[in-house]
């Protein structure tokens, strides 16, 4: 059976290749910092299960130290120039989109086939991981197409991957680190403390204000945790279930679904949701690392108000 562990191998090999090429890149004054940083990621992906929890903890400390002391820089992998790209674009035309579409197409067709045909019953793929498996398969297929068609130099995939990875920098690792922080917060009981705190500010007997505290609590706690999944069980246990559903007779389906979406409004406004908010800022090479969040706040605030209105009007609370 193809499990998640298999998929760590191609990702790990990519990071290992990037680390090696980084070490040899004399144009980067911090080349050994880059090599160590991406090398630790390769170690985590290829051998994370072998080095023990404490070993992984030291690996995380190493990553944080390399990023924190500014030891990770930007290499200069060989690539094409702007005029060369313009010429390629004119010569190759819209066929250039086809390899780009191979990845989503394989992920889509594979996932659908796995879910709705007898293929899914074969048990060849770890349950619920099929999209990831087909994503990686799509990448390999797209690489095959590009090599057969355009014949790039053999090292080009690693070098082009390094160009993008160096542009993203430590932000590529931050989402995983924040997920780990969420787990540590949960183990330390932060959820229970916040839940009790939020409950203590609710005014007695006002349904509308209770709805407001529930929705704002979801958004606020999501901003802290960077993830509505971590906030939902806490807010549901503190307010959603005991007050809105049990005391005021609200519809559990509305309170559950819209409560979660109130949390998503919080996700739009926090740097803690790094993979949605900080990674794209790095990926698009924005000068302001909070640029994406700034663009989202004017949507997120009225949308949060809309969630409060939907909760109040449609959950049978009036």
């Amino acid at each position: 059976m193809i499990t998640l562990t298999w998929l760590y191998v191609p990702a790990g090999l990519l990071f290992a290749g990037v680390a090696l090429r980084s070490a040899l890149d004399r144009s980067n004054a911090k080349r050994f910092g880059n090599a160590a940083f991406w090398g630790l990621m390769a170690l985590s992906l290829l051998a994370g299960d072998l080095i023990g929890d404490f070993g992984n903890g030291l690996l995380v400390l190493g990553l944080a130290a390399l990023a924190g002391f500014g030891l990770v820089g930007r290499g200069h992998p060989a690539t094409t120039t702007e005029p060369e790209r313009e010429a390629f674009s004119q010569r190759l035309g819209n066929r250039l989109f086809l390899p780009a579409l191979v990845i989503p197409a394989v992920a889509l067709v594979g996932t659908l086939a796995w879910s709705y045909t007898p293929l899914g019953a074969t048990g060849w793929i770890e349950p619920k991981r099929e999209t990831y498996v087909f994503l990686v398969l799509g990448v390999l297929l797209a690489l095959g197409v590009i090599f057969a068609w355009l014949r790039p130099p053999a090292l080009a995939p690693v070098e082009e991957g390094r160009r993008l990875l160096d542009a993203i920098g430590w932000a590529a690792v931050l989402p995983q680190l924040l997920a780990a922080l969420g787990a540590v917060f949960a183990a330390a009981g932060v959820g229970e403390i916040v839940g009790a705190g939020v409950r203590s500010v609710i005014p007695e007997g006002s349904v509308f204000l209770t709805v407001c505290v529930f929705a704002l609590g979801m958004a606020g706690f999501t901003m802290i945790m960077g993830n509505a999944f971590a906030a939902f069980p806490v807010m549901a246990a503190a307010i959603g279930v005991p007050l809105l559903i049990a005391d005021y007779g609200g519809d559990p389906a509305v309170i559950g679904a819209v409560g979660m979406l109130a949390g998503f409004c919080g996700t739009l406004m926090t740097p803690m949701a790094a993979n949605f908010n900080l990674v794209p800022a790095a990926l698009l090479e924005l000068k302001d690392q909070y640029g994406v969040i700034r663009a989202q706040i004017p949507t997120a605030l009225p949308l949060l108000a809309a969630q409060i209105a939907i909760l109040y009007l449609f959950a049978g609370l009036m």
Binding site: L4, S44, P99, P104, V241, G256, L286, V292
Partner: protein, 217 residues
């Protein structure tokens, strides 16, 4: 119960506010939280390491970078911009409105992983949005790129919950079932629709306004 473990949150908030590098800030917050909750130093480092290792699935998505990088090497961004220049009436607002609808609809039928910041925003949508604005000055370009990423996020977040077989719907169902309220995923997904419409109207209005303001300028 003690409030001390919340100090970790304070460290994170202060770190982000002071724009310190988030990597050591997050590790410091994790270590402080664990220590204040009564764990030993080795125990906290091990807990952090285990959680990091358990979340390696997040790193898998980076395998798309070599493909995206290779296509950029052969002019994919330039091609995307050329296609948009071919449309006479194309504007940044209209293009992003179309992408918002596309992202919401595909996410609503379970195809949320067919688009995203590395796969579509950087190589395709951002260059298209810039081309539709007619190669704007750097400040305007920065805003357009940020709005493109924002549109992807809004479309994804307020589309995916309409699909009943997504993680967040399963989580809601499990939490409420544990409290004694049995719901089907479909009931929950149905109630994500009003919010999806609200998101399209609110973010769409901003995109429409974006075009209007540009025309006036």
């Amino acid at each position: 119960m003690t409030w001390l473990p919340l100090l970790g949150i304070l460290i994170v908030v202060a770190g982000f506010a002071l724009r310190l590098n988030p990597m050591p800030v997050v590790v410091a917050a994790g270590l402080a939280t664990g220590l204040l909750a009564g764990m030993g130093p080795v125990e906290v480092i091990a807990a952090f390491g285990k959680a990091f290792n358990d979340n390696r699935i997040i790193a898998i998505v980076w395998v798309v970078l070599p493909v995206i990088g290779l296509l950029e090497r052969y002019g994919l961004q330039q091609r995307a911009a050329a296609v948009i220049r071919g449309f006479k009436g194309a504007t940044t607002g209209k293009l992003l409105l179309l992408y918002l609808a596309y992202r919401q609809i595909t996410a609503a039928v379970g195809l949320h992983s067919t688009a995203g910041h590395p796969q579509t925003v950087r190589p395709l949508v951002a260059p298209m949005a810039l081309a539709a604005a007619g190669d704007p000055p750097p400040e305007e370009a920065e805003k357009i790129k940020a709005m493109t990423a924002a549109t992807d996020n809004v479309g994804l977040f307020f589309g995916e919950d309409v699909f009943f077989a997504i993680g967040s719907i399963v989580l809601i169902q499990q939490v409420l079932a544990a409290e004694g309220y049995a719901l089907t995923p479909l009931e929950l997904a149905l109630w994500a629709i009003p919010s999806a419409i609200a998101a399209f109207v609110i973010h769409g209005a901003r995109l429409w306004w974006w075009d209007r303001r540009r025309r006036a300028a």
